[in-house]
Amino acid sequence: MIKNKLARKVFGSSFVAAMVVPAIALAEEGTTATLGDNVYIARAIAAGLAMSVSALAAGYAQARIGAAGAGTLAERPEAGMNLIVLQALPEIIVLLGFVIAFMIGTAA
């Protein structure tokens, strides 16, 4: 599980933001919640989670790759180009998260 204090805080606040922000947005509209509103809220929460969790995962992966990449560069500068590719790979996780969030948000 997440042991690092900072990582716990970041993950917790992202989770809360993903849950609370859509609810506040809806509450501000001042409408009484109906079945359609509940579905909308659930979708917003799901899309927020898909985006935030994938972004956190990509950030974690990039941090680890970055640390190892810095170590490799210090000893073998010729491996620089390979490291840039490796460093960019986790971005795919965010892109997938974005696509899933988009699909959830626009589903009929």
Partner: protein, 363 residues
């Protein structure tokens, strides 16, 4: 260990091995290949060897040492300097967990150094002569060891160790009375060995996977020492009750019972049979014919050294974010320096290439 004799390094808390292991892997990639060593062995003389080594990472160390003369002795010193520098670098990179584990494993070098100083003082050698044999890759720095080597007597050495609050003073003090009685240095050396293996085994008792790996590796080292002691005792006239006195605790497969069994056997064939059920059966059996030809225990010593080196390399090929990478590199580096020293000595005295090859430890 004491505050006096500790390596100066910044604390690196946590257990993140990403950065340090990447650097160590980079350093490992620069270790010499077999083909490179073959070329080096084919050098005509020591000048050729120096010329080739100057193009490598040994260059800066050679430059410094060669100011004192282009001799095999100076090249040897430069190789040792490089090893010390690399070990210090790796220890500086390691996080606190890896540093703690490596200090325990590298304690064998401290032990080696303390024993070397002890022998030197016992034999009334000058401190310059003792210094030539020291390698400061453990926790004791070169300055600490020079100070120890300058002590006028074994008693003064033990007192200095005690003043510096080094743990090696404890077993030495306990056995000083015996040493003073008959002047037998082996009593002190055995006490030191026993103290180190027991201390290291205790220090590495932990549930973490890295500590377990380090303990397994320490266990193999202790096993090889115990096995060699058994093989030597085969030809020695030692009472059965006396045998267990030489047993070192902390082994992985060779426990006290097996040790006394092995030591009580009459010939090497029986030892093979008894060792078949342990991982040491195969390496010992592989050199059996060679032993019959040479009749020297050094054949087994060599086979067990090779096995230990294989285990060190295997440790570096497991968990990529663990201490195994560091263990693997340090032992591979020590092995490379040992091989280079053999080549330098061999080439300088005109030894045939085949003879040098036989002496190398290549895994």
């Amino acid at each position: 260990m004491s505050a006096v004799a500790t390596l100066q390094r910044k604390s690196n808390p946590g257990r993140d091995y990403g950065y340090s292991n990447a650097r160590v892997r980079g350093m490992r990639a620069r270790l010499f290949t077999q083909a490179y060593l073959d070329d080096l062995m084919a050098s005509k003389d020591i000048s050729d060897v120096i010329q080739v080594l100057m193009q490598t990472e040994y260059g800066p160390d050679l430059e410094e040492r060669l100011l004192h003369g282009r001799t095999a002795q100076q090249v040897d010193e430069a190789l040792k300097d490089n090893m010390v520098r690399k070990f210090r670098k790796v220890l500086g990179l390691a996080n606190d967990e890896a540093y703690g584990l490596m200090i325990v494993l590298l304690g064998r070098w401290d032990l080696f150094n303390v024993k070397t100083i002890l022998r030197g003082i016992h034999m009334s050698l000058s401190h310059e002569e003792i210094e030539d044999s020291l390698i400061a890759v453990g926790q004791l720095s070169h300055v600490d060891m020079v100070e120890l080597a300058k002590q006028p007597s074994v008693k003064a050495l033990v007192d200095t160790l005690a003043t510096w609050e080094l743990p090696y003073a404890v077993p030495l003090r306990a056995e000083m009375a015996h040493y003073n009685e008959d002047g037998d240095l082996s009593v002190l050396e055995l006490a030191l060995d026993k103290f180190y293996t027991a201390w290291a085994d205790k220090s590495l008792r932990c549930r973490r996977s890295n500590a377990k790996l380090a303990r397994r590796f320490l266990g193999v080292q202790v096993d090889t020492i115990n096995l060699l002691t058994c093989l030597r005792l085969l030809n020695a006239d030692v009472e059965a009750e006396e045998v267990n006195r030489f047993y070192l605790p902390g082994g992985l497969h060779v426990k006290e019972e097996l040790f006394s069994d092995l030591a009580s056997m009459s010939d090497v064939d029986e030892v093979y049979e008894r060792l078949k059920r342990t991982p040491y059966g195969r390496p010992v059996e592989a050199v059996a014919i060679k032993y019959v030809e040479h009749g020297s225990v050094s054949v087994f010593e060599r086979a067990l050294e090779d096995y230990l080196m294989r285990r060190a390399f295997a440790a570096g090929q497991g968990e990529p974010l663990g201490v195994g990478i560091i263990i693997g590199y340090m032992w591979a580096k020590a092995n490379e320096v040992t091989n280079l020293r053999i080549i330098v000595k061999g080439v300088s005295v005109g030894m045939p290439v085949e003879r040098i090859k036989e002496e190398l430890i290549i895994v």
